[in-house]
């Protein structure tokens, strides 16, 4: 099936099998920051923003994303750059494998105007990190969210 999706502002038209997952289409288009860490929609490493909301792209068929606006961790704007800077200063990334999912989720939380540490923690709890123990990630997001 032919579908069209806009990724980080760039329009892509692709021909996909109906069973193909969005995560695989994005990776084949070169958006390697979208990572696969599980097969049960648990780890969240593949989290992207689809029409403004975070989705686990391993749990979305590519055909469901027809016409959608997608943002990945490669995206750059003021908020994303602030998050990158805060992640770096807070040492919020170690192995880096979950970092894309953390960044896209954090971007959503900041844009939505997250109000408290509890909301940050709850918001990030859909992305697993095995390295950091989470505190530095939570602190980085809080800082950018002005908390």
């Amino acid at each position: 099936m032919k579908i069209a999706l806009r990724v980080n502002g760039v329009l892509h038209e692709v021909d996909v099998e109906p069973r193909k997952l969005l995560v695989h289409v994005l990776r084949e288009l070169g958006y390697k920051s979208v990572r696969v860490g599980c097969d049960t929609a648990t780890c969240g490493a593949c989290t992207v923003l689809m029409d403004g909301r975070p989705v686990k792209s391993c749990n979305v068929l590519a055909v469901q994303a027809d016409g959608a606006e997608i943002y990945t961790a490669d995206y750059s704007d003021e908020v994303m750059e602030k998050l990158r800077d805060a992640f770096k200063r807070h040492h919020a990334a170690q192995c880096g494998f979950c970092t894309s999912g953390m960044l896209t989720t954090a971007y959503y939380l900041v844009r939505r105007g997250v109000k408290s540490e509890e909301e940050v923690v709850e918001g990030l709890s859909g992305v697993l990190c095995r390295c950091t123990g989470y505190q530095n990630i939570v602190n980085a997001v809080k800082e950018v969210a002005g908390l």
């Binding site: 069973r19 097969d39 770096k88 192995c95 979950c98």
Partner: protein, 726 residues
């Protein structure tokens, strides 16, 4: 401009935070094929027949390999599979979706055999044999002994006996394992999500009969490992062999469910103990047996042995006998998981201290105070020599800094309001650093330096830490140093990042390389300047004249002076011993048995701290892994050997919602190791210390509900807590 000791953000982050870090699944080569494995659904079975006739007719399938293909493929060795998830065949196809359809078409005839899953069953004389050639299931049995434990037990005022069971852990690095191999007719290149590219290269070269010079192993960015990627796995050899035979690039990346079975598990040690103590709380003798549930192949050599040899911990115990036994079972092979024997030793001895304190009616701080080693260096009863430290002072300062007594008082206050808080602590000494490590340092024409390390960082931030130590040695800005790692084309051999050894072994190699390179350049500078120069901040000077490193390097290339511009240092490192006190605070809901970690604090003497920002990162992440061992995680098999916790939906890796608040402290006056960096290592400290601290905290909370209750296993799940309180 000293860099060591400063909390410098990582130089690696730029790639990671822009999504540009290349992990093995991001390696793309034109014409690449995809490999996958048919894995046994049985824990123990004879493989009667593997039939590829259907799969080879499938469009897009390129090749299939099975038990009939011989070495270096090694499917179903001895005609059987020994654990659920063991590979019996490999299929190579043009596309991942085609591949996974094709894997279903491989017909395998199995004859299921009785499986043995529990070490007690495995030790019975009539137990099914995991490896028939052994005659029983005991694959390793060794006794460590010192002093006169029998006499000491006889003379003891009290003898305390017990058993403590540590569960199987699935390491769960966020990136599953994967391999890409490509053969261009000249060089075989392997990219692997590994901690040991040098071992991968050696093993692939050996398996295929190729010279080392024509095999190159590359460690791309690796998404976590925690010891689960420090073996050469069969898949690395098989994918390389397929690429070599097919003369095409081949990629295999495990799915999570596949990784949970095909990547080694950790912990799974049980201690049966008998200790003797005097009435005033001195531990006189520690004896017992450590059993390792080794799984289907004995890949995790030394785990029970490390736990046995480090069992005395930071305590002055003069008599001991501990047997280390490894038992084969029909489960995924056991190997290293962050700490690899030391977390188990620490959890065991800390539980023993609490048990003896309970029997004597003694305070848990006091019993440790009375047994701590007073004088370093110290040779423990099993012959391991702890190098430097001042344990009594660090213990008292640590408890003070962490606010142990205040927190206990606060818990008492909260109890009056009906809130059940538990406070626990742990003391540890651990052994880090072994073997050699290699650094190659090159002076460039513009005065910058390129460092190639044999270390294999996968999240630790070693490119930053190495740049710090080398910049200090060369007295230059750290931006002038670029660190490369993970490629056997850069460095001939090395070991890699594991065992908290990196900055000590690899950092010291880098420091030595920098020292030698300075000496080389000084020789050339002397020839150029006509006098014996002094070196300061990138400049050689004497007799009122000076020459910069950039000018020196250019002079060497022009033939005006002679010097080695590339220096290799191979550093042989002796073990060193970090020490610390950690503390955990938890809240208990006695109605549900649910335990919430609230606070985690650490106070460590790890020698020189090169980068406190990165060191604290190691502590926090390590702590959560140890907390998860105490409270959440366990690999569970059913009675047929089916892994029930077969993916992240059923195996509980903690999320941000479970994480406590952390406070990380390092000793104000650390005791450096004798290595050039003065470091001792920090990668595993908190994984080692956190489980016993949390277990003590949970027990403390539970005793507010039911006095005298004792925890004798990990994890202690809400159900366990609830049952113990009934």
């Amino acid at each position: 401009m000293k860099y060591v000791g400063r909390p410098i953000p990582r130089v690696e982050d730029e790639l990671i935070l822009r999504g540009k870090a290349t992990y093995v699944d991001d390696v793309e080569i034109p014409g690449m094929l995809y490999a996958g494995f048919v894995r046994s659904p049985y824990a123990h079975a004879r493989v009667l027949k593997v039939d590829f006739s259907d799969v080879l007719k499938t469009p897009g399938v390129v090749a299939a390999f099975g038990p009939g293909d011989g070495e270096p493929f090694s499917f179903a060795p001895g005609g059987k599979v020994r654990y659920q998830g063991e590979a019996v065949a490999m299929v190579v196809a043009r596309d991942r979706y085609v591949l996974y359809d094709a894997l279903e078409k491989v017909a395998v005839d199995y004859e299921p055999l009785p499986a043995v899953l529990d070490i007690n069953d495995a030790l019975r004389p009539d137990a099914p044999l995991v490896d028939e050639s052994l005659g029983n299931n005991v694959v390793h049995d060794k006794v460590y002994e010192g002093g006169d434990p029998d006499r000491a037990l006889k003379e003891a005022d009290v003898v305390v006996e017990g058993r403590f069971v540590i569960q199987r852990i699935i390491p769960s690095a966020m990136e599953p394992r994967g391999v890409v191999a490509a053969y261009d007719g000249d060089v075989l290149t392997i990219w692997s999500s590994t901690q040991v590219p040098f071992d991968v290269r050696k093993e692939v070269a050996r398996a295929l009969g190729l010279p080392l010079s024509r095999v190159r192993a590359i460690q791309p960015f690796v998404g976590g490992a925690f010891g689960s990627k420090l073996l050469v796995y069969p898949e690395e050899v098989w994918v390389a062999t397929a690429a070599y035979r097919l003369k095409a690039p081949v990629k295999w990346v495990a799915t999570r469910s596949e990784d949970f079975k095909a990547t080694t598990h950790g912990r799974a040690l049980t201690l049966e103990y008998k200790v003797g103590a005097s009435r005033d709380g001195r531990i006189l003798a520690v004896t017992g047996t450590v059993y390792a549930d080794a799984g289907a192949y004995y890949w995790g050599e030394g785990l029970a042995d490390t736990a046995a040899q480090m069992l005395p911990g930071p305590y002055d115990i003069r008599h001991g006998r501990v047997r280390a036994v490894a038992v084969l079972t029909n489960k995924t092979p056991l190997s290293a998981y962050r700490g690899a024997g030391r977390p188990e030793a620490t959890l065991f001895i800390e539980r023993i201290m609490d048990h003896v304190a309970d029997v004597l009616g003694m305070d848990r701080v006091e019993i440790r105070r009375r047994n701590l080693i007073r004088q370093l260096p110290y040779r423990n009863v099993f012959g391991i020599t702890y190098d430097t430290g001042d344990y009594p002072t660090a213990f008292e300062r640590g408890l003070e800094r962490l606010g142990y007594r205040d927190l206990k008082r606060w818990a008492d206050e909260e109890a009056k309001r009906g809130r059940i808080i538990g406070v626990g602590f742990s003391v540890y000494v651990e052994i880090t650093t072994f073997g050699y490590e290699t650094a190659v340092l090159r002076a460039e024409r513009d005065g910058s330096f390129t460092l190639y390390t044999a270390l294999t960082p996968h999240g630790q931030g070693l490119a930053t830490a190495l740049a710090q130590v080398v910049a200090d040695e060369l007295e230059i800005p750290m931006e002038s140093i670029k660190v490369y790692w993970g490629d056997t084309a850069y460095v001939g051999d090395g070991i890699g990042t594991m065992g908290s050894r990196s900055i000590t072994a690899g950092g010291s190699a880098a420091v030595l390389a920098a020292r030698r390179l300075k000496q080389e350049l000084a020789k050339a500078a002397e020839a150029l300047l006509g006098c014996r120069p002094e070196y300061r901040e990138g400049v050689f000077q004497c007799g009122g004249r000076s020459v910069s490193i950039a000018e020196m390097v250019k002079a060497v290339y022009r033939g005006k002076a002679e010097a080695q511009l590339t220096v290799e240092a191979i550093y042989h490192a002796e073990p060193t011993f970090p020490f610390g006190v950690h503390l955990a605070v938890v809240e208990l809901d006695p109605e549900t048995g649910f335990v919430k970690p609230l606070l985690y604090e650490s106070y460590d003497d790890v020698g020189v701290v090169v980068n406190p920002l990165l060191a604290a990162g190691q502590v926090m992440g390590g702590a959560l892994q140890g907390i998860a061992q105490a409270l959440y995680e366990e690999a569970i098999y059913d009675e047929t050997g089916n892994l029930v916790t077969s993916n992240l939906a059923f195996y509980y890796v903690p999320t941000a919602a479970e994480a406590p608040r952390y406070e990380v402290y390092f000793a104000e006056e650390p005791h450096p190791s004798k290595h050039p960096t003065g470091t001792k290592g920090v990668g595993e400290a908190a994984t080692i210390a956190s489980t016993p601290a949390v277990i003590m905290a949970v027990e403390d909370a539970m005793r507010r509900v039911k006095p005298g209750v004792r925890i004798d296993k990990t994890p202690i799940t809400p159900e366990d807590v609830w049952r113990l309180l009934r």
